[in-house]
């Protein structure tokens, strides 16, 4: 037993959640694919809401250097939250000390009851995802912005790997969208970079 | 127009706009809770009550108030 516990394993459990149209499943799939290229064991589990069309949806992505047994996890270490219902549903499930990236354009602290208790012992990073996405002229690419931010924070894989995964995901037909997606990714990445260095500076 | 626009029902399909013979209707910039752009009467004075918007709307957005409140 002691042997097993000594070696700190590297395992990222991430839930992405938002509206149907916010690219939740795309970004989850993308990070899993990039994770695989990076050499992780990965799993990606999409869950569609009860509505056939529209509605909320979420997905669970696991990246680990060990075999992954369950693709489901109740208490993820990371959350990427795109809208309010997702915030309310998943923040309670975030691990103690876990980190949530939250879309501050659609989730307003004022609208959340018992915010303090809800988020006690949890790190919340508020990101204006819609604003970023609109700033680069890609209002739908907030998912990639979030991914940029997340990868800056976790350092999961280098950009080449992401590009490889993105290419694969877009396929021939949608390849022209590569640059735009990349731009969004970089936007998120750089914003967090700037934020972090601002922290270091201050 | 004397009818109510049940904005929350609108899905922004644009059929009413297309078929309105008087070009009364347009998309507004507002979005409803479902996230769709809501139709608005840009030129209510031009409306001749022909009912075509009611006929073509798949979401039953254009209705007399009393009929919905029943």
């Amino acid at each position: 037993m002691s042997r097993i516990m000594k070696k700190k394993s590297m395992k990222y459990e991430i839930i992405f959640s938002g509206f149907g149209g916010q690219g939740v499943l795309f970004v989850g799939n993308l990070i899993a694919l990039a994770g695989m290229y990076q050499g992780f064991n990965v799993s990606f589990l999409p869950v569609y809401g009860p509505e056939m069309r529209g509605g909320t949806c979420h997905c669970t992505v696991l990246l680990s250097d060990k075999e992954i047994a369950s693709p489901l996890v109740y208490e993820p270490g990371y959350l990427v939250i795109f809208n309010l219902p997702s915030f309310l549903k998943f923040i309670p499930r975030l691990k103690r000390g876990g980190l949530a990236l939250v879309n501050k354009d659609l989730v307003k602290v004022e609208e959340i009851e018992h915010y303090e208790t809800l988020c006690a012992n949890k790190k919340i990073l508020w990101l204006p995802l819609n604003t970023w996405a609109e700033a680069i002229g890609m209002p739908l690419a907030l998912n990639l912005c979030a991914l940029g931010a997340l990868n800056k924070l976790l350092g999961l894989f280098p950009e080449e790997i992401l590009i490889k995964a993105l290419r694969e995901m877009l396929g021939k037909e949608k390849l022209p969208l590569l640059e735009a997606n990349l731009k969004a990714y970089r936007k998120g990445f750089e914003e967090v970079e700037a934020y972090e260095s601002s922290l270091t500076k201050s | 127009m004397i009818v109510k626009v049940l904005e929350e029902r609108c899905k922004g399909c644009g059929l009413c706009i297309e078929f309105c013979p008087k070009k009364v209707l347009v998309f507004s910039e507002r979005r409803n809770q479902q996230g769709y752009k809501i139709v608005a009467l840009a030129f209510p004075e031009k409306c001749n009550q022909c009912g075509i918007c009611y006929l073509m709307c798949p979401e039953v957005v254009f209705v007399k108030e009393d009929s919905f409140e029943k």
């Binding site: 509505e51 056939m52 069309r53 529209g54 | 009818v3 929350e8 029902r9 899905k11 922004g12 399909c13 644009g14 059929l15 297309e18 078929f19 479902q34 769709y36 009912g51 075509i52 009611y54 006929l55 073509m56 709307c57 798949p58 979401e59 039953v60 254009f62 209705v63 007399k64 009929s67 919905f68 029943k70």
Partner: protein
């Protein structure tokens, strides 16, 4: 036209789950208008089938039972035989009525069962993501005909309304569309006639609606509605049997 701008009494206020520009909900409204105008809400039983319209009961305010995929006509037969005093309708997709349900559907028609079928022909399986159906036009691409429907492989589109026109048990067989205001009005008249014939126990009554499925046709709502005009070239509108 008294119905204009009246939210039908027998339509529930729930928001529809259908995609923007889908004709299913428009047809729901027509059905409710007819039920209201005939004053039959309290003696009507509907059968919801399996397809995009499986949640029919969330919208139409009459007694409704769900039937397994393709079996709506058999369930309706059971109901109508047991309780001939009730007015009974099925609401079925082209896949439900004409693929898995073809046997049940045609036998009900042939027996002249006295209920009304609303068949919503969007030329593919909406609910399961756009696979080929018996009514898919030749060359149309679907998720299971990636190169387009080839008659040598997937056969020819079935013309159900025409086929039913030849059945002795059928009192009314018609194909309508709802992609412009005039057609909406005449579709409603045909549907009303179907219920009237049912009330008079004249026979099997069948109304086929050409219906837009923007999502699986990969079109915006407007183009999809326009495209229905194109479909009428393959599936002509009209009444193929009317015993009057």
């Amino acid at each position: 036209m008294s119905q204009l701008f009246r939210f039908p009494q027998s339509l529930k206020k729930t928001l529809f789950h259908y995609c923007p520009g889908c004709h299913h909900s428009l047809i729901h409204r027509l059905l409710c208008e007819v039920i209201d105008e005939l004053g039959i809400r309290e003696k009507t039983v509907g059968i919801a089938s399996i397809g995009c319209s499986c949640f029919l009961y969330f919208y139409i305010d009459v007694d409704i039972v769900e039937a397994p995929h393709g079996r709506a006509c058999s369930a309706a037969t059971g109901i109508k035989r047991a309780r001939p005093d009730l007015l009974v309708f099925t609401y079925q997709g082209d896949g439900d009525f004409a693929a898995i349900g073809l046997g049940d559907s045609l036998h009900s028609a042939s027996r002249g069962e006295k209920f009304t079928v609303l068949m919503i022909n969007n030329t593919l399986y909406g609910m399961t993501g756009g696979q080929v159906s018996p009514t898919t036009p030749l060359c149309q691409k679907t998720t299971t005909t990636p190169l387009g429907r080839d008659p040598q492989v997937h056969g020819y589109p079935m013309k159900i309304a025409e086929m039913l026109g030849n059945f002795e048990g059928v009192a009314l067989s018609a194909r309508v569309a709802v992609n412009n205001p005039k057609r909406v009005l005449s579709a409603k008249e045909v549907l009303k006639k179907a219920f009237l014939y049912q009330r008079e126990a004249k026979g099997f009554t069948y109304v086929e609606f050409l219906s837009a499925c923007p999502v699986n046709w990969k079109m915006d709502p407007l183009s999809a509605t326009k495209y229905v005009d194109k479909l009428t070239e393959i599936f002509p509108l009209g009444t193929f049997k009317d015993i009057g």
